[in-house]
Amino acid sequence: MEPFDHASALEGCARQDPASLRRLYDREAGFLLAVALRIVRRRDVAVEVVHDSFLDIWERAGSFDSSRGAGRAWIASIVRHRALKYIRAAGRETDIDEAKTAEIVDTAPDPFAALAAAQDGARLHACLAKLDADRRRVILLAYVEGLSQSEIAERLATPLGTVKAWVRRSLIALKDCLS
């Protein structure tokens, strides 16, 4: 992909320039939809999440500070938090069309394997590879799939306290490795 200056597009949004938001949209809507879809697992909901996120990006662009972090990470985190808010509020189990869910999960790539092949994924992949497989899964289930700690505990058939301890230790190890 060609380089894209997310920070200057966000600065444009802060100046109320709709063309800047359009550039961000053209560049990132497909990526952001994939992120939302993986968490909410329903296309109609994911589309709404991305819609609302672009309105958020427009309204909050003035608070983006490029000295603190990258613009692409900033917009992705808006989408993730919106998607997470939705599934926490709706209750993941109650409102999902089973067939649609199965379809999305079956065709979704394994995030750890995908990371190995991704252009900018080498460093994170190397650091995740140093963790035990279960601990690595905990981080990716939370980050990529948006599972809560109790959902992870259920998925891995592991006590909640253990999952919490794994999260903590994995984060400390990752911080050390990624810094």
Binding site: F54, D120, A142
Partner: protein, 255 residues
Amino acid sequence: MIPSDPEGRDVLAGEYVLGLLDGAATAEIERALLSDADMARRVAFWEECLLPASSALGMAEVDPAQWARIEQDLVTRRHALGRTTPSALTRSKHGIMRAAWHSPSLWRATTGLATAAALILAILLSRMSAPVESPTRYFAILQSRDALGQESGPGWLIQVAQNGAVRSLPLADVQPGSGRALQLWTLWDQARGPVSLGVLPPGGAIRLPPERLEAIGDGQLFEITLEPEAGSPIGRPTGRILFIGRAKGAASQAL
């Protein structure tokens, strides 16, 4: 509690970015991020480092009609914020929008909305000064305030009648969210602090009897904060300020 040791702060920032904190802890860290630059950097670190795991998911196919819906909502929102002051709309926002929005159909819709907004304001003001009412003694136009404390234009109108009756009228569409409510406060004595005028009903429009307001004067502060559904449990504001402004004596002649 936000920990003070670097390791504890990294873990909390990481848990926040992973989405593992509950609602209360998430709200606490989001409040802290507004003023705690160190925490904001730690959060940004995780957001950046973990991003490749999101990028690795690839792209989903976007509905070609989606951008038009976003664009439409942006136009509507601008006018929800701007509709108290038609003169300000024509003065600044239209100038920017005319230069910025290239789509002629959007531009037509926008102009229509601005006209509608001016009409709404005219109707609002004429209703508020209806002859059966006690005449207005004070107005307060409260400015909308975002999570960073930036003011983004008029959002609420408070009217205090000659007899002390208070009317509260929202000028923007505000959803406090489930389990939350908007609460109206006024401050005339710094030593006493803000006094509650009550929790606002859904929609926000309310009329309060004269006995509710103990004092009113020029420059008196009014504010609306985000509180638990039943109102602040401690008798003073606990949540962030959504709207804030000062009372101003109304001109004596009729509109």
